[in-house]
Symmetry: C2
Subunit: 198 residues, 2 copies
Amino acid sequence: MIELAILGLLKDHPMHGYQLSRELTDQLGGLWKVSYGSLYPTLRRLERQGAVEATSGTPGTGGGRRKTVYRITEHGEALFLQLLEEPIHDGAAEDARFRVRLVFFRYLPPETRIRLLDRRRQGLQDRLAGVKAAIRSAADADDEYTRALMEHGRAATETDIAWLTGLIQHERTRYGITAPQGDRRRAQATLRRKERTA
Amino acid sequence: MIELAILGLLKDHPMHGYQLSRELTDQLGGLWKVSYGSLYPTLRRLERQGAVEATSGTPGTGGGRRKTVYRITEHGEALFLQLLEEPIHDGAAEDARFRVRLVFFRYLPPETRIRLLDRRRQGLQDRLAGVKAAIRSAADADDEYTRALMEHGRAATETDIAWLTGLIQHERTRYGITAPQGDRRRAQATLRRKERTA
DNA sequence: GTATCCATATATCAACCCGATATAGCGGGG
DNA sequence: CCCCGCTATATCGGGTTGATATATGGATAC
């Protein structure tokens, strides 16, 4: 989802690659450092797709070194919004993905924001249920570190959920939106374990 | 570090690929799911390196389907220990790496365990310092979600540190090892930000 | 019995991303 | 003056994921 990050930053004002890198690193408080090996190829791909335009490839008059400044196009704006809302394949590396998305939440209407936050919270609660099931199954079996690891998973996930809940609350009171009733997904924690005959 | 995971599991007893996948998924409480796209190629690479041996490629007498059972070699054991202690390039995806490592901590002597745990904690404290610096710099600038994101980074990192501290304490009292005095790395939080003239 | 479905088991693929590295221009300090 | 460090772009190899293809065996339904 480096595309999302690039488009989101260019939406503010045109930039060149190096600037994008620093800006994004700062925005995330150093939690995610974009790699040049991802950045520059992605910029060129976005240009091929017509989502960004490269302006002033070589220095014009005085001096200044070579700089390729990119500007977002209308097509890029559309792509940006689409990526921002796109359904999430939750998995291991999806945590970072969500963080990047959050940086650009201000570009979404409040209802959509809350919907996405809720979806994310549901995903975390599923994960929590899975971890809890694993803890129950492990009990006294497995060694001390494996159990500590699971406890960590539980603590970390609960921290995340608490943080998200606070964010959602804040959002709701701010816009006076009440929680929906139906549409509650089940936890489904797939707790097969310890029952294999080998 | 899927190699570490594979070798660590095979150290217990020989297994085939699918079994490794499930075993590892369970050990981590569903926090990391190995992908077959990593697993099988890695198994063959380890075999080429002589770290594991494939036994009984085809079903022997009765029936049973095709199964390739792998067994760890002496060279594999050495490689395992080396990987387990190897210095860590801390970054974004290093969290998962540490979790995998923890699963096999029981194979290390107590002093080494404490050393690795301490190193990890120091890394997290550096990260925390960075996030805190970012929060101070951001202050009122940046939007609400960026600030919320940084708060999350702080909360999550603090949760991790607290968990680690507990683990270290437990370990120390268990083996009666006192904390070392010197050798304290500095935080070094590189807090350049907001001072670019554009 | 047999048709069907699901879990087992291995394998490959494109896409993505990271870390390291190479290259230059430029500015400042010793 | 020379070297170091920051800016700026670029490329490479390698690891990881997610999706998908393939069989086979066991269970269940009919």
